[in-house]
């Protein structure tokens, strides 16, 4: 006997009186045609767990009436991407005071149908609360940010949003949504609906505004005039001292605004993709090329010294002429990749670079030890603002490098 069921995307039903679910499963055989009545337990609670980077786990709780002995509990779905292998059925607790021991005896999978049937053994008649968990496709999350910098660009307010896109072809009523960190939301998630939720608002986050020249990474702005491209970044450190550090910052688009001071006077500065930033790491947001800081880079010296046989040391002096046309002092980061330098003067040998700084290096304080590696050296240069008459003070620095034992 087949019983008509109102159409739903996912269907959870219990065949009672020891029968089975022929109706919903298309009466696979005569043996399945003994259903007298089907109950349709509704969702009492739904949780969408978004803490896994690549999968969405849905947990739904229903109250299921069971009779003493064996019960058939059917779960079917249509046009949704439920991974049937991930479906977990757990009995949470009996409803009421009667102790009921209920357990899944077996699971049957009918052919060519998005359905399964749990055979559940129950020690007594009564209702139990069960939880069904499964991975569901096309129910995805992404993150985006809105950053509003203060007018002096010393700090910003960072708002983190989670966007939930429900193309799973299933709607959920009041549903708990949790990203694995931060707040849990309780919201309905409709069919084909996109929902954006404010995860966290971080106030007074200090900004480190950086100007960087790095010919290996950012190239020249004007190669003929030896002018380096100088991109500008906001750098945020994801730790408690910097009013962040609650959780890793997820990958997402960051729209950056600057507060103009007066009401409604904020301006859009630009946007960038914020990379996944673990705790204690830095999120670097690119805002554009700084036009008011001019850095000219030339190779002043290139000299070989034989060490023995075909082995040479090579002494190189790079000269930087730096002008700051801004009316504020800035710190410029000069980054040089030693392999890139060797490629400029010798070509690539494929070997790691052995190098040391020569005595003609003029950067005060030496390289930044935290950011420098075996083939990259980082210096910080403080530049004064332009003079009252608009003239910039041209600073000259030299980097003296000896590439050792090259052949």
């Amino acid at each position: 006997m087949c019983l008509s069921i109102p159409f739903r995307k996912t269907l959870f039903s219990v065949a009672i009186f020891g029968g089975t679910l022929a109706g919903t499963l298309g009466c696979p055989s005569d043996a399945w045609a003994r259903v007298k009545l089907i109950t349709l337990p509704v969702r009492e609670r739904v949780e969408i767990q978004l803490d896994n980077a690549g999968a969405t786990l849905v947990e739904e709780e229903r109250v299921v009436p069971l009779v003493k002995g064996e019960n058939q509990v059917d779960f079917s779905w249509a046009n949704t991407q439920i991974d049937p292998n991930t479906i977990v059925f757990r009995v949470v607790a009996p409803v009421g005071e009667k102790a009921i021991d209920a357990k899944v005896l077996s699971v049957s999978y009918p052919p060519n149908e998005a359905a399964l049937i749990w055979s559940v053994g129950s020690s007594d008649s009564g209702s139990v609360r069960v939880r069904v968990s499964y991975l569901l496709g096309n129910l995805n999350k992404s993150f985006n940010y809105r950053a509003v910098a203060s007018k002096d660009e010393k700090q910003l307010t960072l708002s983190q949003y989670m966007r939930l896109q429900n193309f799973a072809n299933e709607s959920f009523g009041s549903t708990g949504v949790w990203a694995g960190f931060g707040k849990r939301f309780l919201k309905p998630v409709g069919l084909n609906e996109t929902k954006e939720m404010l995860m966290e608002k971080y106030e007074n986050v200090p900004i480190r505004k950086t100007y960087t020249c790095n010919p290996a990474e950012f190239d020249y702005l004007d190669r003929a005039q030896n002018k380096l491209r100088v991109p500008m970044h906001y750098v945020l450190k994801n730790n408690k001292e910097n009013h962040l550090g609650l959780a890793p910052l997820q990958y997402g688009k960051v729209r950056i605004f600057i507060d103009g001071g007066a009401e409604g006077s904020s301006a859009f500065l630009g946007e960038d993709w914020g990379k996944f930033t673990p705790m204690d790491d830095e999120m670097k947001l690119y805002l554009g090329v700084a036009q008011d800081i001019v850095v000219k880079r030339t190779i002043d010296k290139n000299e070989n010294r034989r060490v023995g046989g075909n082995v040479f040391d090579q002494e190189i002096v790079l000269k930087y002429e730096i002008e700051n046309f801004k009316d504020t002092p800035v710190t410029l980061d000069i980054v040089e990749n030693l392999r890139f330098i060797r490629n400029e003067v010798r070509g690539d040998t494929g070997r790691d670079v052995e190098w040391e700084l020569g005595k003609d290096t003029t950067f005060e304080g030496g390289p930044d030890k935290e950011k420098s590696t075996f083939e990259q050296v980082v210096f910080h240069v403080t530049l004064p603002p332009r003079a009252e008459d608009g003239k910039a003070d041209k600073k000259e620095h030299k980097l003296n490098v000896i590439l050792k034992n090259e052949w």
């Binding site: 991930t86 046989g309 590696t373």
Partner: protein, 495 residues
């Protein structure tokens, strides 16, 4: 859907039966087609009896698509010649594997010959000579494909990651084209050797099979049969399943046999054609496990991965059975009255007592960086051109002869493994790094050799801390290379 197991006892066979698997005792005026030329005998059948199955047992292998079916039937014989017909239309039975045995009256019954009619490939006739009038129990055994089984596991770790529950399941798939109602089901864990796929044999005519290497074929099948037959056939109590409580899961009895392990599902099962059924094969709760972080690029790629480590032994509340290969799905209690899905992974067969390693992938709360701090070269050796003379640069006086080339040197790399732990508890860390060539590895961290070219470091990283593990690797290059191994040196490496 067919209902072969409820075949009528007597049946008039005017036409070819629509039943999938059919066994018939032919009566009446029958001209038995002994020779292959007489292929028109099926049309001469007037009447046949169709003895129903008494019992059926399935022994399903998971390493190959092969299932041994043994069914018993009660057949009444008359004195003299008794033609028996056995047919298996639209199934995946291997015709070369069908065997008839007499469980009772075996001394009075004998198969004189077996005929495979040319026109009906999925049919055979046995010509049984009986010395008596009466009933005997016969057993028909054969291989079929299309019935398979697989294992899978469900792990749920507690929120503190100290204990977990582990459930093992077996899932039986029936795509054989036949329904075996109330069958005793046995699942074989282990790898068997077959020289031909049963599915192929099932779809071949007998003349094609005849062209194959009969010795190999027969040996392979006999080996399988012998092993499977050796297991006790617990069918004497009937196939009704006995008194199994309706609300209790069926027990799965596990026993070792030769190189295999056999799971016997309590009672009987009916798995309809096209369906599959999953049953719990083991259940462990409060299983303690360890969490370890490993960096092994050759095994896990260039990332630090988190693992759950447990043992298939009694101390871990497991150890009653080897774990057949299958997919493990791992969840963790998220501490908010729900689950977190962590990952799924395929595990290989795990013997009793062996370790279970569940790789959860990288952990965003534990960061690992490998940073090269400095590289330099030393002990540069030159060979003077056209001679066998070698000079070390900076050795016995400065040598600046132009007419020489570098032939040997040491490459030095100062490395730091930087680990930051935000997981909220101390972690155990293991780093394994393979260093091919002639290498000297210097570290103050008490390094060990995993093998001749792989170093192993272990450390505990407290929570909230950044640990920096410094080491120096010296690669001997060119003529300086004298070995192909790693030498360890305990040494305080400076940045």
């Amino acid at each position: 859907m067919s209902n072969t197991s409820s075949l009528p006892l007597f049946r008039t066979a005017w036409k070819r039966s629509t039943h999938v698997l059919r066994f018939a005792l032919l009566l009446g005026i029958i001209t038995l087609a002994i020779s292959s030329q007489r292929t028109s005998r099926a049309e001469n059948v007037d009447l046949s009896t169709v003895p129903s199955r008494s019992t059926v047992q399935l022994t399903i292998y998971n390493s190959e698509d092969v299932t041994l079916v043994r069914e018993t039937r009660n057949v009444t014989f008359k004195k003299g010649s008794n033609p028996l017909q056995f047919s298996w239309a639209n199934t995946l039975i291997d015709s070369t594997s069908v065997e008839l045995n007499f469980l009772t009256q075996s001394d009075k019954l004998e198969v004189l010959d077996t005929t495979f009619p040319h026109a009906k490939p999925q049919m055979l006739y046995w010509n049984v000579e009986s010395e008596f009038d009466g009933e005997a129990e016969i057993q028909i055994a054969y291989f079929t494909s299309g019935i398979t089984w697989s294992a899978d596991y469900l792990c749920i770790a507690d929120n503190n990651e100290q204990e977990m529950s582990l459930e093992g399941f077996v899932r039986v798939f029936n795509n054989s084209g036949e329904e075996y109602e109330n069958a005793q089901v046995r699942l074989v864990v282990g790898t068997i050797n077959l020289v031909e796929k049963i599915a192929q044999l099932a779809n071949m005519s007998l003349s094609e099979v005849a062209g194959m290497d009969r010795d190999e074929l027969s040996k392979a099948k006999k080996d399988v049969l012998a092993d499977a037959m050796a297991a006790p056939m617990a069918m004497a109590g009937g196939m009704g399943g006995g008194a199994i409580a309706e609300d209790a899961p069926k027990e799965i009895i596990k026993e070792g046999l030769s190189e295999y392990f056999i799971y016997t599902i309590e009672g009987t099962e009916t798995i309809q054609n096209g369906w599959s059924k999953r049953m719990r094969s083991l259940e462990g709760t409060s299983i303690s496990f360890d969490v370890e972080y490993r960096y092994r690029p050759q095994e896990y790629g260039e990332q630090l991965v988190k693992l759950y480590l447990l043992k298939n032994d009694v101390a871990s509340k497991l150890g009653t059975t080897p774990l057949p290969n299958g997919t493990v799905r791992i969840f963790r209690d998220n501490g908010r009255d729900g689950l977190s899905y962590l990952t799924q992974q395929d595990i290989k067969y795990i013997p009793i007592g062996d370790r279970i390693e569940l790789n959860l992938g990288s952990d965003p709360e534990v960061l690992h960086e490998l940073v090269k701090l400095r590289t330099y070269r030393s002990d540069l050796i030159l060979q003077i051109h056209g001679t066998n003379e070698f000079r070390k640069i900076g050795g016995d006086g400065t040598f600046k002869e132009e007419n020489a080339s570098l032939v040997g040197w040491d490459d030095h790399v100062i490395l730091v493994e930087r680990i930051r732990n935000f997981s909220g508890k101390a972690i155990q860390l293991e780093i394994r790094r393979t260093l091919p060539g002639h290498v000297v590895f210097k570290s103050s961290l008490n390094p060990k050799l995993h093998d001749f070219q792989t170093i192993e470091l272990r450390a505990t990283v407290p929570t909230g801390m950044k640990s920096e593990l410094l080491s120096e690797i010296i690669h001997k290059q060119g003529t300086s290379t004298k070995q192909n191994n790693v030498t360890l040196e305990k040494f305080e490496v400076k940045r």
